[in-house]
């Protein structure tokens, strides 16, 4: 076990090194690639912090889906000459910014060392209350997300829908209603198609497993949905599927299904359990799984649509 502290230090050094590379790289694209690698390293840090749920989310969203988004953007902008015509900032400005950033970071570091001991925690309350409202959920994070902070979780799904509308609204008037541009313009390469054909069914199965097991073990609706989204994106990149038209009814229903079902159950809680977003204790687990199933669907629909971008005028 004495190896672990060394591992931690090496990991922290790597994370910081890649972060510095991302900030200072000369090429835009190099910086984007650096960021994706950084996201993967961060997932390991989360595992070391005993946060497997966060590690799964970070790997799937923070590195994976965000990576596809940024690399696509970096490639398109890299092709653009004179993308940033303005002069690089002067030395004095750089120095001033550096001093400011260093001050903020060191103040923050000092404050982190000063956090009170013994630390305050809601873990005992969460554990005690898990028998109440989060009845039968072995994974306390799922209990917190779906029961104690249900309003936040529901609103976060609304934020996703809003982001989808926001991304779509950036397109042109003429393109409205049509499909976003395919994720890949050229003919797909045969190994990519093979990978998509093999990976997508297995990935979908694993996604459902992660969602289902999330009630008791690390995982849950968000991680499962993100994996499902990634599988859809893989098939899009292999051109086995193309992004759907944005006025397709099933797409819109899929996007709102999660928050809508959550909202309806929340409203029903007032009648059945005496408060909005309350669950009757005996039925809490099945109701939460039912809501989560729809959230998986919404997340799997929303993330690829956010990556695909606004509708395009030439749906080729």
């Amino acid at each position: 076990m004495s190896l672990l502290p060394i591992l931690d230090v090496v990991l922290a050094g790597l994370v910081i090194g890649v972060a510095i590379f991302t900030i200072t790289a000369r090429e835009l694209f190099a910086s984007v690639v650096g960021y994706v690698a950084y996201g993967l390293l961060l997932a390991f840090v989360w595992i070391r912090l005993y946060a497997p749920d966060v590690a799964l989310t970070e790997a799937a969203v923070g590195s994976g889906v965000t990576g596809v988004l940024l690399i696509t953007a970096g490639k398109r902008l890299g092709a653009l000459k004179n993308a940033a015509p303005e002069a690089q900032p002067g030395f004095a400005f750089k120095l001033l910014t550096g001093v400011l950033a260093a001050l903020v970071a060191s103040a923050l570091g000092a404050v982190i060392l000063m956090l009170p001991d013994p630390p305050p925690s809601l873990a005992p309350e969460a554990a005690a209350a898990a028998d109440g409202a989060g009845a039968g959920l072995g994974n306390p994070i799922t209990a917190v997300l779906m029961s104690y902070r249900s309003l936040d979780t529901m609103l976060e799904k609304i934020v996703l829908i809003l982001a989808v509308v926001g991304v779509w609204s950036v397109g042109t008037d003429k393109a409205w209603g049509s499909a976003p541009a395919p994720l890949r313009q050229q003919e797909p390469y045969a190994p990519m198609v093979f990978l998509a054909q093999m990976l997508a069914p297995v990935g979908a199965l694993i996604a459902i497993h992660i969602f289902w097991t999330g009630a008791n073990a690390p995982g849950g609706a968000f991680q499962g949905g993100a994996l499902l989204a990634a599988m859809w994106m893989v098939t899009m990149m292999a051109r086995l599927t193309d992004p759907p038209r944005i006025d397709t009814q099933w797409l819109r229903v899929a996007l709102v299904a999660g928050p809508a079902v959550f909202l309806i159950s929340g409203l029903a809680g007032e009648v059945v359990a005496g408060a909005f977003f309350a669950y009757p204790p005996s039925l809490a687990k099945p109701i939460i799984l039912f809501i989560e199933a729809f959230m998986v669907l919404s997340i799997a629909a929303a993330l690829p649509m956010l990556v695909a971008g606004p509708p395009s005028e030439r749906p080729d």
Partner: protein, 496 residues
């Protein structure tokens, strides 16, 4: 605060006021097309009724009303609370959103021949989303819940800025987004530190637990920085004028009148509700100085603008400055006067500025441009619009009788009563400068030049704008009961 731990009568209204626009949004998005505008127009009056009902309950109870979401008490659960100022802000938001919805109807109706158009669907969904986010901000009792609301507000406001798709509006929207994202992440960092130090994010529980430690000070500084970037307080105001001036009039009115007030409201919550026990005189003075600088800088730059909408946007920068005088003025012995003055300034500016943007939009459509030098004689062809601008200007300058006058008068009173004479200078200077820029709009307009209309304005839109300024003027006649209502639930500084 024993009463904060249980749901009170009428508490369920707080959930409904959040869920109504959320449901509207979902219903607008799914079938899309013309349903979006129908749903938005139908739900706004209901939202107004809900806000009034909440005000009624708060008034009857004489103390804040509370709802525990899921019946689960903080620190694990999320509480919603409405006090006097929340109720007033809910009503104001409902009125302005309703006005914006009806004002926007001609421009953002789905055109004939298509089943759905980009700008219409975006506008109606984003309008409802802004409203939902504001309602959460006004009644939210949990700092992380409020973070989600802040992000909701940003994601709804940014697409409205670039809704007409010109490249300069997209650049303005992007700049706004980057400032706002910096603001949210800085706020979130403060939230993390608060949780690490005190193990709760509930506003009233935190108020009981906070002490003057370095962790708390750092958290407060980070959150304040983030909120100031979102409120566009000088010198973090750079994003605001292009964003607000380039959006369509109905959106500008909501952005300038309400959206920046959302993050200001959270700044009030932070310093007056969570941290009243902290010795924060120096912070108050810094915020007051930034506010004074904003008043002077914003007004001076407004004087130099060639376009009417940019002038109004810079006037927003100046009027936001007044808001921050609340921090030094509402902490001393005369805190009640300072507090009333701040809330009055929020309301008066919200209504007057929304009306000014509505009128500027009407004017730009009727004349085909909004260059101030080419406004000669416009007042004679657009009398109602210029009456609105004149009355709104009256309130911005702070001439009686108007809400703006009450706000500035109360601020002067508070600074004299608390012995902080120095704040009277920016207040008076700002009034004079505001008189200057309002004069700059009105003088050419009232001249005898001949001017022709490209398009006659819609009477209904002119009436909506006039009605909003009427509210701004009527605020000047607010009775004492109104100010007593604002005191409900306000923590008294110095008595934790």
């Amino acid at each position: 605060m024993a009463e904060s731990g249980t749901t009170t009568p009428g508490g369920y209204l707080l959930v409904l006021t959040i869920l109504l626009p959320v449901v509207g949004m979902i219903l607008s998005f799914t079938p899309g097309g013309r349903n979006a505008e129908r749903i938005a127009l139908c739900s706004t009056p209901f939202g107004f009724a809900l806000a009034c009902a909440i005000a009624f309950h708060v008034n009857r109870a004489g103390k804040p009303i509370v709802y525990l979401v899921g019946g689960l008490p903080p620190p694990l659960g999320i509480a919603l609370r409405a006090d006097g100022i929340s109720a007033v802000m809910l009503v104001a938001a409902a009125v302005i959103v309703t006005a914006a919805a009806f004002y926007a109807r001609p421009k953002f109706a789905t055109p004939d021949g298509v089943s759905e158009s980009r700008s219409s669907l975006t506008f109606w969904i984003m309008l409802q989303a802004i409203w939902a986010a504001l309602n959460i901000i006004f009644v939210g009792g949990d700092l992380f819940n409020l973070y989600v609301a802040l992000e909701l507000l940003t994601f709804a406001a940014v697409p409205l800025v670039c809704i007409d798709g010109r490249p300069e509006t997209i650049a303005a929207a992007l700049r706004y987004l980057l400032f706002a994202l910096f603001g949210s992440i800085s706020y979130l960092l403060g939230v993390a530190l608060f949780y690490g130090a005190h193990g709760t994010l509930d506003i009233s529980l935190l108020a009981e637990r906070v002490q003057s430690t370095p962790v708390v000070w750092t958290a407060a500084a980070l959150m304040t920085c983030g909120l100031l970037a979102k409120t566009a307080l000088f010198p973090l105001h750079l994003w605001l004028p292009p964003a607000h001036a380039n959006a369509p009039a109905a959106a500008s009115a909501v952005l300038s009148g309400l959206v920046v007030k959302g993050s200001f409201f959270l700044t009030l919550r932070l310093w007056f509700y969570i941290l009243p026990a902290l010795p924060a005189e120096k912070v108050a003075i810094v915020l007051g100085c930034l506010g004074s600088a904003a008043i002077i800088a914003g007004s001076v730059i407004a004087l130099r603008q060639a376009r009417l909408k940019l002038l109004i946007a810079y006037s927003t920068v100046a009027q936001i400055g007044y808001l921050f005088l609340v921090f030094p003025l509402a902490t001393g012995a005369s805190s009640a006067i300072g507090w009333s003055a701040g809330v009055m300034q929020i309301l008066a500016h919200a209504f007057a500025k929304a009306a000014m943007f509505f009128s500027a939009g009407l004017l730009a459509e009727a004349l085909g441009h909004d260059q101030i030098v080419k406004l000669g004689g416009a007042a004679r062809v657009l009398p109602l619009t210029f009456l609105t601008i004149a009355l709104g200007g009256l309130s911005l300058v702070g001439l009686p009788p108007s809400g703006g006058f009450s706000a500035k008068w109360l601020m002067l009173q508070a600074s004299v009563a608390s012995g902080q004479w120095v704040w009277t200078l920016p207040i008076l200077a700002g009034g004079l400068l505001a008189a200057g820029y309002v004069y700059r709009i009105l003088t050419p307009a009232l001249s005898d030049d001949q001017i022709s209309l490209v398009l006659p304005p819609k009477r209904s839109q002119e009436v909506i704008a006039l009605a909003l300024t009427a509210v701004a003027i009527a605020l000047g006649f607010a009775p004492q009961a109104f100010f007593d209502f604002l005191e409900i639930g306000r923590p008294v500084v110095g008595q934790p």
